[in-house]
Symmetry: C2
């Protein structure tokens, strides 16, 4: 596995892959890798001729009071995992490489980025869209892999890719969970034993709501009230039922929706969600068909 540290070297590698007609897969991360990231890497490696993993804890998507300094950094373990899985290039630029003096360009996506996480983290998606644009430009991937846990993020990135004619296929992979149901997250490391137990309320609430929806409940406020009933012991940021494409709240469940939760367990902010399509009356697994590798 090659480790590259700046955009010029990264582009040079990717250009040579493209000159050879190879398809490039890309998994963007902030490191502290877990099985959720591993599932993205495995898909990228299966679908493409060459795969790039990025590790960059992006300062522009954290507010000053958030956990940028504290965010877990496990670079050596991350490298070992990526190399074992078969990643070809690890792109790990420094903050000064990514944001040089007089840095002043940002990518803003409206509409789909409003509500949900952006209410409590107003600059979050500006930071995400900007860094993902920079990573896309350096890596020039054909396909990029995101986890469904960050469902709004994937919707925002999809909109950005469409709007800016980026020509990259965005693939969303299902949420990977611990045995007891907790959605995997790098931030789970922050949880004390007691709070780890409390955090289970989120996935239990979503499980219950999933049963309501598959049983035919179509009123959003009824479902949201039921979810809130599970979350008495933690500080809820939001519980929302939104259209899966636009991320706008719905009152009736008539097409594909996302039931999304964000809550603070102690100091730790956790998110989780599931997608539901009333047409099939079952959870939308978001498993995309495995694409054939490019012939050239």
């Amino acid at each position: 596995m090659i480790i590259l540290k700046n955009a010029e070297d990264m582009r040079s590698w990717s250009s040579s892959q493209r000159n050879n007609g190879f398809a490039i897969g890309f998994v963007p991360t902030m490191g502290a890798l877990h099985e959720g990231h591993a599932s993205l890497m495995r898909s990228s490696i299966a679908d493409n001729n060459a795969s790039v993993l990025s590790i960059f804890v992006n300062p522009t998507q954290f507010a000053p009071h958030e956990d940028f300094e504290l965010y877990p950094r496990t670079f050596d373990d991350d490298c070992a995992m990526a190399e074992n899985l078969g990643i070809d290039v690890l792109y790990a630029p420094t903050a000064s490489e990514m944001y040089p003096i007089n840095y002043s360009t940002y990518v803003n996506v409206g509409g789909v980025s409003e509500g949900l996480c952006s209410a409590s983290r107003p600059h979050f998606y500006r930071g995400v869209c900007t860094v993902v644009t920079k990573l896309f430009n350096a890596i020039m991937p054909h396909r990029a892999y995101f986890g469904q846990k960050d469902a709004q993020q994937t919707a925002v990135i999809r909109r950005m890719v469409r709007d800016l004619d980026m020509g990259i296929k965005i693939i969303e992979m299902p949420i990977i969970r611990e045995v007891d149901g907790l959605a995997m997250s790098s931030r789970n490391k922050y949880l004390s034993v007691k709070n780890r137990e409390k955090a289970l309320a989120i996935s239990k609430a979503l499980d219950y709501a999933s049963e309501m929806l598959t049983s035919g409940e179509s009123d959003a406020s009824t479902v949201i009230s039921a979810v809130l009933g599970f979350l008495n012991n933690i500080k809820v940021d939001y519980v929302s039922l939104v259209d899966a494409d636009t991320m706008h709240p719905v009152t009736k469940i008539e097409k594909s929706v996302v039931l999304a939760v964000a809550a603070y367990v102690g100091e730790t902010r956790l998110i989780d969600n599931f997608k539901f399509d009333p047409k099939t009356l079952c959870e939308d697994s978001s498993v995309f068909p495995i694409l054939e590798k490019c012939d050239k």
Copy 2:
């Protein structure tokens, strides 16, 4: 010459060029082509294996009261000029292709985009940066050619390309002028015979200022006052002496600067400028060395 109308077809053509190791040059325009555009096309054709011209009158860089509807459209003449010069692809997307329903993504460049033209046209550079990003993503050029007449635009695009790791070489070509000195512009077509005569004051003022600077004048306000003295008969938008990199106003001329003028002649807004480097005591011609074509 091939004419392409959507981003997917454009990317497909560019990908095949890149797969063959060809260098792609790109000249973005709003059509109504004149000798200034021709000089950009000639450079692109000389420097690259294949050249793309875009023609798109971009609605997002016009304010509602501006001349979007009126802007000259001379598509057939433009095609003839491009084909005669040897352009390989004309990319001419429609507005609905470029800005589909729910379009919501914009690229903002701060700092260098402030002052000068953005004072009277506050959304101008947001529109320019967004459309240029879209065109770059569809065309995937190695080099892109801009005219020095839009000096701030080139500085803004350069900053955007650096900040977003676009990996495209931005080449600025000298201003092309009519025999009597008026900077060529698609908007010159709006001028009545009388206003065409009045408009000459701009280039005459810049000529005079150029002589002051080459004679060693280093006080910005003295130069600006002299320029304003020439512009009594037209409505000045701005006369500014700015740093050539940052586009911030300077009070003393100590490094490379741009003396930039915008003024209304009748209803028509015209811009002009020249660059001056006090180290060489001569006008900075901004002629870049011709680059070798890519071997692969």
